[in-house]
Amino acid sequence: MKNIVDSNQIPVTQEHDDALPEIVRQAAEIGFTRRDFLKGTGALVVSFSLVGTEQLLEDSGTAVAQSPSATKVDSFVVIAADGSVTGYTGKVDLGTGTSYGLKMMLSEELDVAHERIAWVQGDSALTPNQGATVGSQSIRNAGPVIRRAGAAARKFLVDLASKKLNLPADQLDVNDGVVFAKSDPTIKVTYGELVGGQKFGIDVPAANNIVIKTPDQFKIIGKAIKRTDIAQRILGESFAHNIRRPGMVHGRTIKPPTANAKVVSVDESSVSGVPGLIKVVVRGDFVGVVCEREENAIRAAELLKITWSDPVPAFPEQADLYNYMKTLSDARQPVPAPTTVGDVNAGFAASAKTYSSTYLWPWQMHAAFSPMAAVADVTADGKCTAWSGGQNPHGEVAHIVRILGLKEADVRVIWVDGPGVYGRAGSTDDATLEAAILSQAVGRPVRLQWLRRDEHGFEPKGPPHVITVKAGVDATGNVLAWDYEDRHFPLVPVREPHAAALIAPTPESVGSTDGSGGNGHPYYNFPNKKITPILLPWVNKWVTGLRSNHNRAPGDPARHMATECFMDELAAAANVDPLQFRLRQTTDQRTIDVLNAAAERYGWQARPSPAPGNSRTGVVSGRGIAFGIRQTYVAAVAEVEVDQSTGVILVKRVIIGHDCGLMINPDSVVQQIEGQVIQTVGRALMEEVMFDQYKVTSIDWISYPLIKFTQYPTVEAVLINRPTVAPGGVGEPALNPVPAAIGNAVFDATGARLRQVPFTPERVLEALKNR
């Protein structure tokens, strides 16, 4: 079952009133714990009367309960006596629209109009801990739980109505929170009348223990719903950056000037002349300043004289990075066996020809447009309330507890809107703990924001890859043997905030090679394959500016670049159209469908690359295709112009064929695809972290440029909806095939093969010379 939606033809959408911000804001203002929030006086609580949830907290047996249990329906859904409905989730909407999707999923199962559901997200005291908002997992993993909670709540309410109306449950239906008799809709009772003053008191049922709606029953899932938070985000009303507390002062922190430098001494007299200086805070190698005014805090951070230990080389020379990576061995003990299919050696032995290429992917940063910012208020009685715009509010609590020496029950982290972070704050946003340290030191609420050079210089970064692929092919060019080796630093090691590592580091782990994508496993029907991820050792990864960590779709863009560029090389070697070359080596219908969808929309003409008749000079055009998978299936066709005199690539147009299974909100899907493609064109063409042996030297938007307004392509999406297939994520998969599609299009245009990201003009000119 599938249907195809053209992104230009999404049905007309409607706006709905937005009850969220005010509720979240009041939640932030009203009290310290969920119980305070529920019990407090004032209009908010009168309107909510959240008795069930309050009881749940009493049941938890602690003086001040932390996050409500993620196994209880009451933790996700609260229906007040007046019928108003509030949904709760630990997942946060990073501007990607996930809150709309999750709310639609609750709305669908509960049968309450989504416009009427207030939404509370990412508050360590109010919402269940559903893990960090990472890996495009909100809709995919948290969504089904919310659907089951909603369905269980609906069943509970219909059973209550059955008793109250004296009618069998199967003769009742629900419309927007009103249960009515199918035979006579005037016989009815509202959710508020049924549940007022009670809690559900039931567990979220297992998937095999609850009936959820089938696609033919959907009222809201699959409809295009517009976001209503656009204006508030543009106006900045909802950002963590704009939290203002009474008596709030401003902090800045100072990062070590060279990797692993230790504080020898701090000369506080160097800033004694800064107006409104409140305190210089030194803990271990963590140094911060707090001032009454923000601009003076920045000045104090610039002026403070710190004597650091002598610089010691920590990184390889950048020019030698990839050679260095080739010399290292897997850090894991024991080294896991490669993933194999068939017998790769026998496959090579039977091959008519063999090919090999190596692909290079650089350190890249998330480059959040705002440096991380947070506000924290640590009071004299040891309670901490912090406002964070990161991805993991529940996860910040433990760091604050450990470094500030507070009780877990006394720490509340409230998520509020923040800048797009793309994985940067998936484990920690860094700023929340730092604001808390400074607030504890001065006894006042502190707003902290990193400087741009520190955000560039010290954000955790996506690691480089050296990927070597060898293939043996038969007489037609089809692959008989595929040997794929991916050398990279850890994809997921950073588990603690920068300040924690500077003050009291915990032992570093070797990290992970698993970016929760496919780990480089090719999706084609090759009879013999060997996939060898090599997790290279990377020391001091929690302190230095090259903190090796997850960047959007960890590992996937590099892995797909290698696989899909190499497939293009094999297609060209076989003199076969690159789309046909892929199609003839897969039988997977979803793969076939997205490839065909993108190609058809583009107007793909079957022919081998390079394009016949292109000049070897001047500006030439080409098209490239690539496939990608990360639970969601994606194909990209890129159309490029290459100026062969300058080496400049202009990506004109990118078509995405996209199958994420069940689509919840097509509007969100399209927006995510557009954003990923444009961001990734920049990653492919220009993004590379520069460093010397002591520090990161990409410290601003000149030394780490992003794609500009005269450089972005037109993005078109063809959406394949498969209502009977569980939803995949949509925040990462669409970027996977983009770099390869561009590289393949450059080959199509010029006959020159690019194997190193970013595809800078210098590298293009070099490839042109070598063609």
Binding site: I230, I234, H241, N242, F369, Q679, I707, F709
Partner: protein, 155 residues
Amino acid sequence: MSLINLKVNGRSHTVDVDPTAPLLYVLRNDLLLNGPRFGCGLGQCGACTVIVEGEWIRSCITPTSSVENFAITTIDGLVTEGKLHPILQAFVDHQAAQCGYCINGMVMTAKAFIDQNPRASETQIKEALEGNICRCGTHMRIVAAARQYALEVGA
């Protein structure tokens, strides 16, 4: 510290600040405006953009004393009694924000440029926005929204 008169969004304010303090922090922390925000402090990204006497400027590198008594407009001033200015409405219509952090700069730069160039073409709008950065990749929608405003202004 010295007393400086600022005319912001049609109102006069007197602030007592270091004359060299960048305007951004005075707007945010003294006048409690949420619109302009810190992105780089270097004039490289546009997050802090405000309009002074019809020209867009980077408030993060503008000394407060240098704009004394000039007419300053921040994005906060583009909402009147709950009604959005047409350029803000255009951004809402096109859903031209992902995280939204950069959009202040997009709106203020585009507004100043289009108000001066009412029939601005798509190419001219892209060139005007060349000094603004968006990390979420919302470029298509930003340009579509600015184009809508240009068509309204030029009509």
